[in-house]
């Protein structure tokens, strides 16, 4: 299936989009590499949920989005946040718990948000963000704007009730919501086949009365095309879409976590075929870009990432006066 659709949709991926997607993916990868270096060297500490191997999905989806479009994601959402446009310095500073972060260091890596770039919520509760994204879509519909609400979640989140309640509501009200299920094959340490007998998750969501497709989440042309249709449908009042984006988690659940439960051959093969390298080669092979162009992009994003991390590290911890602010609109409401 991936084959077929790739063929027919390639044409639909314009050069500028193709290059910008590469830049986004390269930025995500550079940031993950930089964080890994920092963690391995003991330069800093943080809980980090790797996104390696899942870069294509948000890079392709965001190509169809505007800053005023909404996005909701999960703890494993650094790639989504970067693609949606959270300033890199604020992003890293938040992950480090510094006052220069998106949440002044009070949220942390599992709670990145920046309404200015449309990234409204990052939740640490599996499935918890899905109903919220439906509400963002409802606000757009009630206001008559053409904003779209995109919600990212994992394959494991399809087992939890909130996701189903939200899907039914979004379909019922024909809301401008795109459900982006990043199907990386695992829920923490449990493989897909060990927690459901469903073959294609899209089959579970289609019956709610929404478009639901399974797409190769590691193929830029496929993801670009599928996301384009979903976003266009939402923007034009055509209702929600469920995108089952097939990818593979190339690391453990979190930084340093074991992968002993993952089939070694499959993992090795997936790493060898990892999407950034695959896409880079494709761009050159298809004459979409020259080796030099891509190397230059890589140089630029490395520089940007390096600068962001340096700036973030220079940001101090939040002061103790922050402990009980932002609890309520007015601090007087805080019980003593």
């Amino acid at each position: 299936m991936a084959e077929a659709s790739t063929a027919q949709v390639t044409a639909r991926l314009p050069d500028d989009a193709a290059l910008h997607i590469f830049r986004t993916m390269a930025t995500i990868r550079a940031m993950e590499d930089r964080i890994n270096r920092g963690l391995n060297a003991g330069e800093f500490r943080m809980t980090f949920y790797p996104v390696r191997g899942q870069e294509v999905i948000p890079a392709a989806v965001s190509e169809h989005l505007r800053p005023e479009d909404y996005m909701v994601t999960t703890y494993r959402g650094m790639h989504d946040c970067i693609a949606k446009g959270i300033p890199l310095t604020e992003l890293v500073a938040e992950m480090l718990g510094r006052v220069g972060g998106t949440s002044k260091g009070k949220g942390g890596p599992m709670h990145l948000s920046d309404p200015r770039s449309g990234l409204m919520v990052t939740t640490g509760v599996v499935g918890g963000g899905v109903p919220i994204a439906v509400g963002l879509g409802l606000a757009a519909q009630l206001r008559g704007t053409d904003q779209v609400s995109v919600v990212n979640f994992g394959d494991g989140a399809t087992s939890i009730g909130a996701t189903h309640e939200a899907a039914n509501m979004a379909a019922l009200w024909q809301l401008p919501v795109v459900f982006v299920c990043q199907h990386n094959g695992y829920g923490e340490h449990t493989a897909f086949a060990d927690y459901t007998r469903t073959e294609h998750l899209a089959d579970r969501f289609r019956p709610y009365g929404m478009a639901a497709v399974t797409v190769d989440g590691n193929s830029v042309p496929d993801m670009y095309a599928a996301a384009g249709e979903a976003v266009a449908r939402a923007r034009s009042g055509g209702g929600p879409t469920f995108l089952e984006c097939l990818t593979f988690r190339l690391e453990g659940h979190s930084f340093g976590a074991s992968t002993e439960y993952v089939d070694a051959d499959r993992l090795a093969q997936a790493r060898a075929d990892e999407p950034l390298g695959r896409y880079r080669a494709w761009l050159v092979a298809e004459d979409r870009a020259t080796e030099e162009q891509l190397a230059e992009v890589e140089r630029q994003v490395d520089e940007a990432v390096e600068a962001a991390v340096a700036e973030a590290l220079a940001s101090p911890a939040p002061g103790l006066e922050e402990l009980q602010t932002d609890v309520f609109s007015s601090d007087e409401a805080v019980p003593r």
């Binding site: 949440s103 948000s113 920046d114 918890g128 994204a133 039914n168 019922l172 602010t325 609890v327 019980p335």
Partner: protein
């Protein structure tokens, strides 16, 4: 203050008026919940007439899906709307506490103030109507314990109108508890625009000998007990907290500093319940100044029984309140 000219309405009508005023004042206010559209207008009638007046886009029935209802309200509020969600009965918060406690309550803080969640969740609180163990719980204790939630419990039609209106326009998530046993009790309600600030308790009956601190279902019981005791020469002050968060600490301490005796009364289970916070506060702040230990009267430690005889015995009533006060003299 309430004036003699104020027309008389039920608490349910007070709720309905607050919703109507808020929706006419502000386009961003809308309601969602189960069975809230006309002709039913909410199983407790709170939204009656509103879908007809404002349309089904702004007063919308939902599937039976409380996580989606509350989550949807949260999302819409992040985008600048002021949703009023209805959770039919407080017991059903148990199916959506993740949205309430892990999301609505925390998003402002977790975003360092960049986002906020100006939602109101209206809910009916049972008890005393033989609805059984799963349809009668007063769970304000759960809500008070989660930083970031405001908790509102009117006991009169007037308070319901004024407090709900304030809750809707408050910039934080508010839980508005509508006590079923009081929904159809009547009282004066100011016409037109009317708001009561959150966080202000009200002395519903001034007194000098003992302070009864109560809210919701137990306020009329406290007032009735006060009447009885007045006949026996004991002058009881009844303080209706009206909002539990923000808590009117000053009003509590001022009253008890004066009377030197306090009884906290609520329909929630006594053990590890909301009254423990009030009792601890008073015992701590007025240590050595009290004439008697602070008494707590709440529901007995048991799931709420169905049989009328048992359910009646479970809750504090005017009789037990009066007895308790007599024993403190």
């Amino acid at each position: 203050m309430t004036t003699v000219e104020d027309p008389v309405h039920t608490l349910s009508e007070g709720v309905n008026q607050a919703l109507d005023e808020a929706m006419s004042d502000d386009e961003t206010v809308f309601c969602l919940g189960e069975d809230i559209e006309d002709p039913i207008g909410g199983v407790m009638r709170g939204t009656r007439g509103l879908s007809t007046k404002y349309g089904r886009a702004r007063v919308r029935n939902t599937p039976i899906a409380e996580q989606a209802i509350v989550g949807c309200a949260i999302g819409a509020s992040l985008a600048g709307m002021r949703p009023v969600a209805e959770v039919m009965l407080m017991d059903f918060f148990a199916v959506c506490m993740d949205q309430v406690a892990n999301h609505a309550a925390k998003l402002r803080y977790m975003s360092g103030g960049r986002t906020n969640v100006p939602i109101t969740i209206r809910t009916s609180v049972g008890g005393g109507a033989q609805f059984g163990a799963q349809h009668s719980q007063s769970l304000e204790g759960w809500m008070m314990h989660i930083p970031g939630l405001k908790v509102v419990v009117p006991s009169t039609p007037r308070d319901a109108k004024g407090l709900l209106y304030s809750a809707i326009f408050d910039d934080d998530p508010c839980i508005h508890m509508e006590t079923m046993s009081l929904l159809f009790t009547r009282g004066p309600v100011p016409a037109g625009h009317f708001a009561i600030p959150l966080g202000s308790a009200e002395v519903k009956r001034p007194g000098t000998d003992v302070t009864v601190i109560a809210w919701g279902k137990e306020v009329p019981e406290a007032l009735a007990a006060a009447e009885t005791l007045a006949g026996e020469g004991t002058d009881v002050e009844v303080l209706d907290l009206r909002t539990l968060v923000p808590l009117d600490r000053q009003a509590i301490l001022d009253s008890v500093a004066k009377t030197r005796r306090a009884v906290v009364v609520h329909a929630a289970t006594t053990f590890a319940g909301p009254g423990a916070e009030i009792a601890s506060l008073v015992s701590h702040e007025l240590f050595g100044e009290l004439a008697a230990p602070v008494e707590r009267l709440g529901a007995a430690y048991a799931p709420i029984p169905f049989a009328a005889e048992l359910e009646t015995a479970l809750y504090p009533d005017r009789g037990r309140i009066a007895e308790t006060i007599r024993a403190m003299a």
